[in-house]
Amino acid sequence: MAELKVTAIKEGTVIDHIPAGKGLKVIEILRLNRPNGGALLLASNVNSKKLGRKDIVKVEGRFLSEEEVNKIALIAPTATVNIVRNYKVSEKFKVEIPDEITGILRCANPNCVSNHEYTVSKFYVVSREPLKVRCHYCERTMEEEDILRNL
Protein backbone atom coordinates (compact mmCIF):
# COMPACT_ATOMS: atom_id res chain seq x y z
CA MET A 1 0.00 0.00 0.00
CA ALA A 2 1.28 3.41 -0.90
CA GLU A 3 1.88 5.88 1.88
CA LEU A 4 -1.39 7.47 2.88
CA LYS A 5 -1.91 10.92 1.44
CA VAL A 6 -2.69 13.41 4.11
CA THR A 7 -4.08 16.73 3.06
CA ALA A 8 -1.52 19.48 3.42
CA ILE A 9 -2.19 22.31 5.83
CA LYS A 10 -1.47 25.98 5.36
CA GLU A 11 -0.31 26.93 8.85
CA GLY A 12 0.14 24.70 11.82
CA THR A 13 1.92 21.69 13.17
CA VAL A 14 2.35 18.18 11.86
CA ILE A 15 3.43 15.59 14.38
CA ASP A 16 4.82 12.65 12.49
CA HIS A 17 6.30 9.29 13.48
CA ILE A 18 4.04 8.82 16.47
CA PRO A 19 4.10 5.13 17.48
CA ALA A 20 0.95 3.51 16.04
CA GLY A 21 -1.95 3.81 18.45
CA LYS A 22 -0.54 6.72 20.43
CA GLY A 23 -2.01 9.46 18.20
CA LEU A 24 -5.17 9.88 20.24
CA LYS A 25 -3.14 10.15 23.41
CA VAL A 26 -1.00 12.88 21.82
CA ILE A 27 -4.17 14.79 20.99
CA GLU A 28 -5.46 14.34 24.50
CA ILE A 29 -2.23 15.42 26.19
CA LEU A 30 -1.86 18.48 24.01
CA ARG A 31 -5.57 19.23 24.44
CA LEU A 32 -5.89 19.68 20.70
CA ASN A 33 -9.48 18.50 20.71
CA ARG A 34 -10.87 21.68 22.22
CA PRO A 35 -13.85 23.20 20.42
CA ASN A 36 -11.95 26.45 19.84
CA GLY A 37 -8.86 24.67 18.50
CA GLY A 38 -8.05 24.53 14.79
CA ALA A 39 -8.99 21.77 12.38
CA LEU A 40 -7.55 18.50 13.57
CA LEU A 41 -6.61 15.43 11.61
CA LEU A 42 -5.48 12.09 12.93
CA ALA A 43 -4.12 9.42 10.65
CA SER A 44 -3.71 6.08 12.34
CA ASN A 45 -1.83 2.93 11.37
CA VAL A 46 -0.09 4.56 8.44
CA ASN A 47 2.71 2.57 6.79
CA SER A 48 6.11 3.80 7.82
CA LYS A 49 9.58 2.75 6.71
CA LYS A 50 11.00 3.67 10.10
CA LEU A 51 8.33 2.33 12.44
CA GLY A 52 6.34 -0.17 10.39
CA ARG A 53 3.14 1.54 11.45
CA LYS A 54 2.75 5.06 12.72
CA ASP A 55 0.23 7.74 13.58
CA ILE A 56 0.26 11.30 12.28
CA VAL A 57 -1.47 14.26 13.89
CA LYS A 58 -2.02 17.49 12.01
CA VAL A 59 -3.37 20.59 13.61
CA GLU A 60 -4.24 23.69 11.70
CA GLY A 61 -3.44 27.13 13.09
CA ARG A 62 -1.36 26.08 16.07
CA PHE A 63 2.39 26.13 16.59
CA LEU A 64 3.54 23.91 19.40
CA SER A 65 5.77 25.28 22.14
CA GLU A 66 8.83 23.43 23.32
CA GLU A 67 7.06 22.56 26.55
CA GLU A 68 4.33 20.84 24.62
CA VAL A 69 6.88 19.00 22.53
CA ASN A 70 8.47 17.68 25.69
CA LYS A 71 5.09 16.39 26.77
CA ILE A 72 4.84 14.34 23.61
CA ALA A 73 8.33 12.96 24.13
CA LEU A 74 7.14 11.02 27.12
CA ILE A 75 4.59 8.98 25.17
CA ALA A 76 5.93 9.25 21.64
CA PRO A 77 9.71 9.40 21.84
CA THR A 78 10.06 8.74 18.12
CA ALA A 79 7.88 11.68 17.06
CA THR A 80 9.06 14.43 14.77
CA VAL A 81 7.43 17.83 14.78
CA ASN A 82 7.03 19.91 11.65
CA ILE A 83 5.99 23.53 11.88
CA VAL A 84 4.22 24.49 8.67
CA ARG A 85 3.93 28.05 7.41
CA ASN A 86 2.35 28.85 4.10
CA TYR A 87 2.22 25.16 3.06
CA LYS A 88 5.94 24.73 3.70
CA VAL A 89 7.80 23.08 6.56
CA SER A 90 9.57 25.99 8.21
CA GLU A 91 10.98 24.12 11.20
CA LYS A 92 11.44 20.46 11.93
CA PHE A 93 12.58 18.87 15.15
CA LYS A 94 12.69 15.52 16.85
CA VAL A 95 11.11 15.33 20.24
CA GLU A 96 13.47 14.58 23.02
CA ILE A 97 12.97 13.60 26.62
CA PRO A 98 14.63 16.40 28.56
CA ASP A 99 16.72 15.82 31.70
CA GLU A 100 14.09 17.69 33.67
CA ILE A 101 10.36 17.72 33.14
CA THR A 102 8.74 20.83 34.52
CA GLY A 103 5.10 21.72 34.88
CA ILE A 104 3.44 19.06 32.73
CA LEU A 105 3.39 15.97 34.85
CA ARG A 106 1.58 15.39 38.13
CA CYS A 107 3.18 13.36 40.89
CA ALA A 108 1.56 9.96 41.44
CA ASN A 109 2.25 10.11 45.16
CA PRO A 110 -0.96 11.36 46.80
CA ASN A 111 1.02 12.51 49.84
CA CYS A 112 3.47 14.57 47.79
CA VAL A 113 3.49 18.24 48.73
CA SER A 114 3.19 19.13 45.03
CA ASN A 115 -0.36 17.73 45.06
CA HIS A 116 -1.40 19.92 47.99
CA GLU A 117 0.47 23.21 47.82
CA TYR A 118 1.07 25.62 44.99
CA THR A 119 4.18 24.39 43.15
CA VAL A 120 5.38 23.91 39.63
CA SER A 121 5.93 20.18 39.39
CA LYS A 122 9.42 19.04 38.52
CA PHE A 123 10.84 15.62 37.73
CA TYR A 124 14.32 14.36 36.96
CA VAL A 125 14.67 11.73 34.28
CA VAL A 126 16.44 8.80 35.92
CA SER A 127 16.32 6.53 32.91
CA ARG A 128 14.93 6.84 29.39
CA GLU A 129 14.75 3.17 28.53
CA PRO A 130 12.69 2.11 30.39
CA LEU A 131 11.31 5.52 31.21
CA LYS A 132 11.67 6.40 34.87
CA VAL A 133 11.48 9.82 36.53
CA ARG A 134 12.04 11.05 40.10
CA CYS A 135 9.91 13.74 41.71
CA HIS A 136 11.93 16.78 42.79
CA TYR A 137 9.76 17.13 45.89
CA CYS A 138 8.93 13.71 47.30
CA GLU A 139 11.82 11.90 45.55
CA ARG A 140 9.59 8.98 44.57
CA THR A 141 10.21 7.43 41.20
CA MET A 142 7.46 6.97 38.65
CA GLU A 143 7.57 4.44 35.84
CA GLU A 144 6.01 4.60 32.43
CA GLU A 145 2.53 3.49 33.43
CA ASP A 146 2.26 6.07 36.22
CA ILE A 147 3.77 8.75 34.01
CA LEU A 148 1.20 8.23 31.27
CA ARG A 149 -1.61 8.30 33.78
CA ASN A 150 -0.45 11.61 35.25
CA LEU A 151 0.36 13.63 32.16
Partner: protein
Amino acid sequence: MEWKGRDVISIRDFSKEDIEFLLKVAERLEAELNEKGSLDYAKGKILATLFFEPSTRTRLSFESAMHRLGGSVIGFSSASSTSVKKGESLADTIKTVEQYSDVIVIRHSMEGAARLAAEVAEIPVINAGDGSNQHPTQTLLDLYTIKRAFGKIDGLTIGLLGDLKYGRTVHSLAEALAFYNVELYLISPELLRMPKHIIEELQEKGVKVHETSDLEGAIPELDVLYVTRIQRERFPDEQEYLKVKGSYQVNCEVLKNAKETLKVMHPLPRVDEIHPEVDKSKHALYFRQVFSGVPVRMALLGLTLGVL
Protein backbone atom coordinates in the same frame (compact mmCIF):
# COMPACT_ATOMS: atom_id res chain seq x y z
CA MET B 1 30.60 23.11 48.74
CA GLU B 2 29.68 26.30 50.55
CA TRP B 3 27.86 25.49 53.80
CA LYS B 4 26.69 28.94 54.79
CA GLY B 5 23.06 29.29 53.74
CA ARG B 6 22.85 25.71 52.58
CA ASP B 7 19.65 23.68 52.98
CA VAL B 8 19.75 20.17 54.41
CA ILE B 9 16.87 18.37 52.75
CA SER B 10 17.93 14.97 51.49
CA ILE B 11 20.89 12.68 51.95
CA ARG B 12 20.96 12.59 48.14
CA ASP B 13 22.20 16.18 48.15
CA PHE B 14 25.37 15.16 50.01
CA SER B 15 28.67 13.98 48.59
CA LYS B 16 31.05 11.79 50.53
CA GLU B 17 33.26 14.84 51.10
CA ASP B 18 30.31 16.76 52.58
CA ILE B 19 29.58 13.91 54.95
CA GLU B 20 33.18 13.49 56.02
CA PHE B 21 33.56 17.21 56.61
CA LEU B 22 30.39 17.37 58.66
CA LEU B 23 31.42 14.38 60.79
CA LYS B 24 34.77 16.03 61.51
CA VAL B 25 33.12 19.28 62.59
CA ALA B 26 30.71 17.36 64.82
CA GLU B 27 33.64 15.55 66.41
CA ARG B 28 35.41 18.83 67.06
CA LEU B 29 32.27 20.32 68.62
CA GLU B 30 31.77 17.29 70.83
CA ALA B 31 35.32 17.66 72.17
CA GLU B 32 34.83 21.40 72.75
CA LEU B 33 31.54 20.76 74.46
CA ASN B 34 33.15 18.22 76.79
CA GLU B 35 35.80 20.72 77.69
CA LYS B 36 33.70 23.87 78.12
CA GLY B 37 30.17 22.64 78.85
CA SER B 38 28.54 25.06 76.43
CA LEU B 39 29.59 27.09 73.41
CA ASP B 40 28.66 30.48 72.03
CA TYR B 41 29.15 30.20 68.28
CA ALA B 42 25.48 30.87 67.59
CA LYS B 43 25.03 33.64 70.13
CA GLY B 44 22.24 35.97 69.02
CA LYS B 45 20.97 33.50 66.39
CA ILE B 46 17.46 32.13 66.46
CA LEU B 47 16.33 28.69 65.34
CA ALA B 48 12.67 28.20 64.41
CA THR B 49 11.46 24.62 64.87
CA LEU B 50 8.31 24.10 62.79
CA PHE B 51 6.90 20.75 63.77
CA PHE B 52 3.69 20.45 61.78
CA GLU B 53 3.70 16.84 62.93
CA PRO B 54 4.81 16.05 66.46
CA SER B 55 8.15 14.36 67.05
CA THR B 56 9.27 15.25 70.52
CA ARG B 57 12.66 13.53 70.44
CA THR B 58 13.82 15.07 67.20
CA ARG B 59 12.61 18.49 68.27
CA LEU B 60 14.34 18.26 71.66
CA SER B 61 17.54 17.14 70.00
CA PHE B 62 17.55 20.17 67.69
CA GLU B 63 16.64 22.51 70.53
CA SER B 64 19.38 21.08 72.72
CA ALA B 65 21.88 21.45 69.88
CA MET B 66 20.93 25.10 69.32
CA HIS B 67 21.10 25.92 73.04
CA ARG B 68 24.48 24.20 73.40
CA LEU B 69 25.68 26.28 70.49
CA GLY B 70 24.65 29.42 72.39
CA GLY B 71 21.62 30.30 70.26
CA SER B 72 17.94 30.42 71.08
CA VAL B 73 14.84 28.66 69.83
CA ILE B 74 11.27 29.54 68.88
CA GLY B 75 8.67 27.33 67.27
CA PHE B 76 5.64 25.13 67.53
CA SER B 77 5.18 21.43 68.02
CA SER B 78 1.93 20.70 66.26
CA ALA B 79 0.07 22.23 63.37
CA SER B 80 -3.17 22.50 65.33
CA SER B 81 -1.89 25.53 67.24
CA THR B 82 -0.95 27.53 64.15
CA SER B 83 -2.62 29.46 61.38
CA VAL B 84 -2.12 26.39 59.19
CA LYS B 85 -5.32 25.25 60.77
CA LYS B 86 -6.97 28.34 59.29
CA GLY B 87 -5.84 27.24 55.86
CA GLU B 88 -2.58 29.15 55.50
CA SER B 89 -0.26 27.71 52.85
CA LEU B 90 3.03 26.18 53.84
CA ALA B 91 4.84 28.77 51.72
CA ASP B 92 3.21 31.63 53.62
CA THR B 93 4.01 30.09 56.99
CA ILE B 94 7.66 29.76 55.96
CA LYS B 95 7.87 33.30 54.59
CA THR B 96 6.43 34.60 57.85
CA VAL B 97 8.61 32.56 60.17
CA GLU B 98 11.79 33.48 58.35
CA GLN B 99 11.20 37.07 59.42
CA TYR B 100 11.67 35.92 63.01
CA SER B 101 14.60 33.54 62.68
CA ASP B 102 17.99 32.69 61.15
CA VAL B 103 17.50 29.00 60.42
CA ILE B 104 14.42 26.77 60.14
CA VAL B 105 14.00 23.13 61.09
CA ILE B 106 10.86 21.60 59.62
CA ARG B 107 9.00 18.38 60.25
CA HIS B 108 5.96 17.72 58.10
CA SER B 109 3.71 14.80 57.24
CA MET B 110 3.84 15.49 53.51
CA GLU B 111 6.68 14.21 51.37
CA GLY B 112 8.59 17.04 49.75
CA ALA B 113 7.42 19.66 52.26
CA ALA B 114 10.97 20.45 53.35
CA ARG B 115 12.10 20.88 49.74
CA LEU B 116 9.25 23.29 49.12
CA ALA B 117 10.06 25.19 52.31
CA ALA B 118 13.70 25.50 51.25
CA GLU B 119 12.68 26.91 47.88
CA VAL B 120 10.53 29.54 49.52
CA ALA B 121 12.89 30.56 52.34
CA GLU B 122 15.97 32.74 51.99
CA ILE B 123 17.41 31.32 55.20
CA PRO B 124 18.66 27.74 55.54
CA VAL B 125 16.07 25.00 56.02
CA ILE B 126 16.85 21.68 57.66
CA ASN B 127 14.58 18.70 57.08
CA ALA B 128 13.64 16.90 60.29
CA GLY B 129 11.49 14.36 58.46
CA ASP B 130 9.02 14.76 55.59
CA GLY B 131 6.45 11.97 55.63
CA SER B 132 8.03 8.71 54.58
CA ASN B 133 10.63 10.42 52.43
CA GLN B 134 13.78 11.76 54.12
CA HIS B 135 15.24 12.34 57.55
CA PRO B 136 18.81 13.24 56.64
CA THR B 137 19.99 14.28 60.12
CA GLN B 138 19.14 10.79 61.41
CA THR B 139 21.39 9.24 58.77
CA LEU B 140 24.20 11.66 59.54
CA LEU B 141 24.02 10.91 63.25
CA ASP B 142 23.98 7.18 62.49
CA LEU B 143 27.17 7.53 60.49
CA TYR B 144 28.69 9.68 63.22
CA THR B 145 27.84 7.08 65.85
CA ILE B 146 29.50 4.31 63.83
CA LYS B 147 32.55 6.43 63.18
CA ARG B 148 32.92 7.37 66.85
CA ALA B 149 32.56 3.76 67.97
CA PHE B 150 34.99 2.21 65.48
CA GLY B 151 37.14 5.17 64.46
CA LYS B 152 36.17 4.42 60.85
CA ILE B 153 33.35 3.27 58.61
CA ASP B 154 35.40 1.63 55.85
CA GLY B 155 35.97 -2.08 56.27
CA LEU B 156 32.97 -2.73 58.54
CA THR B 157 30.32 -5.37 58.09
CA ILE B 158 26.93 -3.89 58.90
CA GLY B 159 23.62 -5.68 59.35
CA LEU B 160 20.36 -3.83 58.78
CA LEU B 161 17.53 -5.65 60.53
CA GLY B 162 13.75 -5.37 60.51
CA ASP B 163 11.54 -3.44 58.14
CA LEU B 164 13.76 -2.83 55.16
CA LYS B 165 10.82 -2.27 52.84
CA TYR B 166 9.12 0.71 54.43
CA GLY B 167 11.88 1.84 56.78
CA ARG B 168 12.95 5.32 55.73
CA THR B 169 15.92 5.28 58.10
CA VAL B 170 17.52 2.17 56.65
CA HIS B 171 17.00 3.30 53.06
CA SER B 172 18.94 6.50 53.48
CA LEU B 173 21.51 4.88 55.77
CA ALA B 174 22.14 2.21 53.12
CA GLU B 175 22.47 4.89 50.44
CA ALA B 176 24.97 6.82 52.55
CA LEU B 177 26.92 3.67 53.45
CA ALA B 178 27.36 3.05 49.73
CA PHE B 179 29.98 5.82 49.80
CA TYR B 180 32.11 3.58 52.01
CA ASN B 181 33.85 0.27 51.60
CA VAL B 182 31.38 -1.78 53.64
CA GLU B 183 29.70 -5.16 53.46
CA LEU B 184 25.96 -5.21 54.16
CA TYR B 185 23.70 -7.93 55.54
CA LEU B 186 20.07 -7.08 54.82
CA ILE B 187 18.12 -9.11 57.36
CA SER B 188 14.32 -9.02 57.15
CA PRO B 189 11.20 -11.14 56.81
CA GLU B 190 10.57 -12.14 53.20
CA LEU B 191 7.70 -9.61 53.02
CA LEU B 192 9.84 -6.69 54.14
CA ARG B 193 12.90 -6.98 51.94
CA MET B 194 14.87 -3.95 50.83
CA PRO B 195 13.46 -2.50 47.56
CA LYS B 196 15.24 -3.88 44.52
CA HIS B 197 16.29 -0.49 43.17
CA ILE B 198 18.20 0.29 46.38
CA ILE B 199 19.98 -3.07 46.31
CA GLU B 200 20.94 -2.52 42.67
CA GLU B 201 22.22 0.95 43.50
CA LEU B 202 24.34 -0.48 46.34
CA GLN B 203 25.78 -3.19 44.10
CA GLU B 204 26.56 -0.70 41.36
CA LYS B 205 28.57 1.26 43.90
CA GLY B 206 30.54 -1.85 44.81
CA VAL B 207 28.89 -2.75 48.12
CA LYS B 208 28.81 -6.48 48.83
CA VAL B 209 25.19 -7.22 49.75
CA HIS B 210 23.78 -10.33 51.41
CA GLU B 211 20.00 -10.72 51.71
CA THR B 212 18.75 -13.09 54.36
CA SER B 213 15.98 -13.65 56.86
CA ASP B 214 18.28 -15.57 59.20
CA LEU B 215 19.40 -13.22 61.96
CA GLU B 216 21.28 -15.83 63.98
CA GLY B 217 23.19 -16.97 60.93
CA ALA B 218 24.29 -13.44 60.12
CA ILE B 219 25.16 -12.31 63.66
CA PRO B 220 28.73 -13.74 63.87
CA GLU B 221 29.77 -11.76 60.78
CA LEU B 222 28.66 -8.34 61.97
CA ASP B 223 30.45 -5.33 63.42
CA VAL B 224 27.22 -3.34 63.63
CA LEU B 225 23.64 -4.56 63.92
CA TYR B 226 21.23 -1.75 63.05
CA VAL B 227 17.78 -2.69 64.32
CA THR B 228 14.57 -1.03 63.16
CA ARG B 229 11.04 -1.23 64.40
CA ILE B 230 8.35 -2.77 62.27
CA GLN B 231 5.92 0.16 62.20
CA ARG B 232 2.26 -0.66 61.95
CA GLU B 233 1.40 2.74 60.45
CA ARG B 234 3.63 2.17 57.41
CA PHE B 235 1.67 -0.88 56.29
CA PRO B 236 -1.01 -0.39 53.69
CA ASP B 237 -2.58 -3.65 54.86
CA GLU B 238 -3.10 -4.73 58.47
CA GLN B 239 -2.98 -8.43 57.53
CA GLU B 240 0.49 -7.95 56.11
CA TYR B 241 1.55 -6.28 59.35
CA LEU B 242 0.22 -9.09 61.52
CA LYS B 243 2.24 -11.62 59.51
CA VAL B 244 5.55 -9.95 60.30
CA LYS B 245 5.11 -8.19 63.62
CA GLY B 246 7.52 -9.45 66.23
CA SER B 247 9.59 -11.31 63.63
CA TYR B 248 12.82 -10.59 65.46
CA GLN B 249 13.88 -9.90 68.96
CA VAL B 250 17.47 -9.09 69.77
CA ASN B 251 18.29 -10.44 73.23
CA CYS B 252 21.37 -11.78 75.00
CA GLU B 253 20.71 -15.28 73.68
CA VAL B 254 20.73 -14.04 70.08
CA LEU B 255 23.92 -12.08 70.76
CA LYS B 256 25.73 -15.12 72.17
CA ASN B 257 27.55 -15.79 68.92
CA ALA B 258 28.31 -12.17 68.14
CA LYS B 259 31.77 -10.66 67.96
CA GLU B 260 32.91 -9.18 71.27
CA THR B 261 32.99 -5.79 69.58
CA LEU B 262 29.56 -5.97 67.91
CA LYS B 263 27.54 -2.79 68.43
CA VAL B 264 23.75 -2.73 68.35
CA MET B 265 22.11 0.44 67.06
CA HIS B 266 18.47 1.54 66.82
CA PRO B 267 16.96 4.89 65.79
CA LEU B 268 14.51 4.59 68.74
CA PRO B 269 11.86 4.48 70.00
CA ARG B 270 11.87 0.70 70.30
CA VAL B 271 8.95 -1.51 71.16
CA ASP B 272 10.09 -5.07 71.67
CA GLU B 273 12.74 -5.59 69.00
CA ILE B 274 15.60 -5.17 71.49
CA HIS B 275 15.17 -6.72 74.92
CA PRO B 276 16.04 -4.32 77.78
CA GLU B 277 18.59 -6.87 79.05
CA VAL B 278 20.79 -5.85 76.11
CA ASP B 279 20.98 -2.27 77.46
CA LYS B 280 23.60 -3.16 80.04
CA SER B 281 25.72 -5.26 77.68
CA LYS B 282 28.84 -3.99 75.93
CA HIS B 283 26.92 -4.28 72.67
CA ALA B 284 24.38 -1.52 73.33
CA LEU B 285 25.13 1.63 71.40
CA TYR B 286 21.63 3.05 70.93
CA PHE B 287 21.62 5.55 73.77
CA ARG B 288 25.01 6.82 72.71
CA GLN B 289 23.44 7.10 69.24
CA VAL B 290 20.77 9.41 70.68
CA PHE B 291 23.49 11.59 72.20
CA SER B 292 25.24 11.78 68.80
CA GLY B 293 22.28 13.72 67.50
CA VAL B 294 23.40 16.76 69.47
CA PRO B 295 26.94 17.32 68.08
CA VAL B 296 25.79 16.38 64.56
CA ARG B 297 22.91 18.86 64.68
CA MET B 298 25.17 21.48 66.27
CA ALA B 299 27.50 21.06 63.31
CA LEU B 300 24.64 21.36 60.82
CA LEU B 301 23.18 24.44 62.50
CA GLY B 302 26.54 26.13 62.92
CA LEU B 303 27.69 25.43 59.38
CA THR B 304 24.48 26.50 57.66
CA LEU B 305 24.36 29.63 59.82
CA GLY B 306 27.94 30.32 58.81
CA VAL B 307 29.17 30.73 62.39
CA LEU B 308 31.61 27.82 62.51
